[in-house]
């Protein structure tokens, strides 16, 4: 337990130091949200209708941005070899690293999404729906991404390959995330239905991804 806690603290500490890139995802998210009204035009009805979807796509891309570094640093400096030889099972190491990565990249998006939603004329319940669906769905993005990050860790310039590998598998999360967020601001579907499926996707990813990622990391040469 203390080993897992030490790993979590170390990940947060590295992210918070210079060059950790902790705030990069949020800034990228802000830029994406900002350019959408310029492209679509000042049609508030249209913006508020597609707002939740824009927020989700922006969150998905912002999450993807830092994923290639999830295991890369530890692979390059040899830490991964030692993490593999520690008392902590590699699967647990991966869960802890994903948790720390989510706390640095996913959680800030959940917090700022209601604020940025205002720029897309999303209102009241819709903002709460976006935040709630991001809270439930972004862990799945990190965990699915961890499999891709583990598979591409020993490749040079694996970042683009990672995006190509991972994005198709995030489609279910995107579908139910957007439908939960849209349902919150009115519509025929009750909020709970897509939201619970979104929670289930995150839990399933939590159950499966660590084992898949650990197998990929063990077989790297």
């Amino acid at each position: 337990m203390s080993a897992a806690l030490a790993l979590f603290k170390r990940e947060l500490r590295i992210a918070s130091r210079a060059g950790g890139g902790g705030a990069m995802g949020v800034v990228f998210f802000l830029i994406l949200i900002t350019i959408v009204p310029f492209a679509i035009g000042p049609d508030l009805n249209l913006l508020s209708r597609i707002g939740p979807a824009i927020l989700w796509i922006a969150a998905l891309l912002a999450m993807l941005l830092g994923l290639d570094r999830l295991f890369l640093g530890d692979h390059e400096d040899g830490s991964l070899d030692l993490l593999q030889m520690g008392a902590l099972p590699l699967e647990v190491v991966i869960v802890v690293k994903c948790l720390a990565h989510w706390a640095v990249t996913g959680l800030p998006l959940v917090i700022v999404a209601p604020l940025f939603g205002l720029m897309l004329a999303v209102e009241g319940d819709g903002l709460a729906g976006v935040a709630a669906s991001l809270l439930a769905g972004t862990p799945a993005l990190t965990l699915i991404g961890a499999i891709g990050a583990a598979l591409t860790v020993s490749l040079r310039r694996g970042g683009l390959l990672l995006a190509i590998l991972v994005l198709p598998f995030t489609v279910p999360v995107l579908i139910f995330g957007v439908s939960a967020a849209s349902a919150a601001s009115g519509g025929t579907v009750p909020f709970a239905t897509p939201f619970l499926i979104l929670c289930a996707l995150s839990l399933a990813a939590l159950a499966l991804a660590p084992f898949a990622a650990a197998a990929a990391l063990r077989s790297r040469d």
Partner: protein, 204 residues
């Protein structure tokens, strides 16, 4: 002198990609003994160390430590490879604290004591990125002291070390061996402690 475990390697074959580096490799290392692996570049020295550490699967053969469950063998081994496993953003003390917590096992020296042993007691709070190559290597060696483990696998341990630091490394290895530990080191220069030699053949 306490008795440590015994390292037994039987009929090991090493393959890297499609190249067969060695086969029928067998040796035993008793508690308190060191073995230096020599051979030209590309002979398979690093590969052998990674196989002993359990990081690579051998093409054939077995590696075992007496009295240790094969599943838990990695937890009795320190692997000091070419990469130092140090985070540039963290200080030397933070790096060692982390590895001490993560590697677990019986309590070793505190990070400060370990840094004193490698003559770096004056730099505990400097981010590792500011250290020279030799100093980084010494922090990596200090890691072996914060979590005691019987078998040390060292890949070119004296790289980048000055003469004084090489002598200090020899003292550390001496102390580890007299405490019943085992050392297997891949090296081009003399190890500094009495050691058996295993020559890996290489093709030019």
């Amino acid at each position: 002198m306490t008795r440590g475990p015994r390292l037994l390697v039987e009929n090991l074959a090493l393959v890297r990609g499609t190249r067969r580096l060695a086969q029928g490799l067998s040796f035993a290392l008793e508690s308190g003994q060191a073995l230096s692996i020599t051979g030209p570049n590309g002979a398979g020295k690093s590969t052998l160390l990674r196989v002993l550490a359990g990081l690579l699967a051998p093409a054939a053969g077995t590696v075992s430590l007496s009295g240790v469950d094969p599943q838990e063998m990695a937890q009795h081994i320190h692997y000091a490879g070419h990469a130092e496993a140090l985070k540039n953003a963290l200080t030397a003390r933070e790096n060692l604290q982390f590895w001490s917590a993560l590697l677990g096992g019986p309590a070793g020296l505190t990070p400060q004591q370990a840094l004193e042993r490698v003559n770096l007691a004056h730099l505990p709070d400097l981010p590792v990125s500011y250290l020279s190559a030799g100093q980084r290597r010494r922090v990596a060696l200090a890691r072996l002291l914060v979590a005691p483990r019987p078998l040390w696998l060292m890949d070119e341990p004296s790289t980048a070390l000055d003469t004084a630091a090489q002598a200090r490394l020899a003292e550390l290895m001496e102390a580890h061996l007299s405490g019943g530990g085992l050392i297997v080191a891949a090296t081009h220069s003399p190890l500094g402690v009495p050691a058996g030699e295993l020559m890996l053949g290489g093709r030019p």
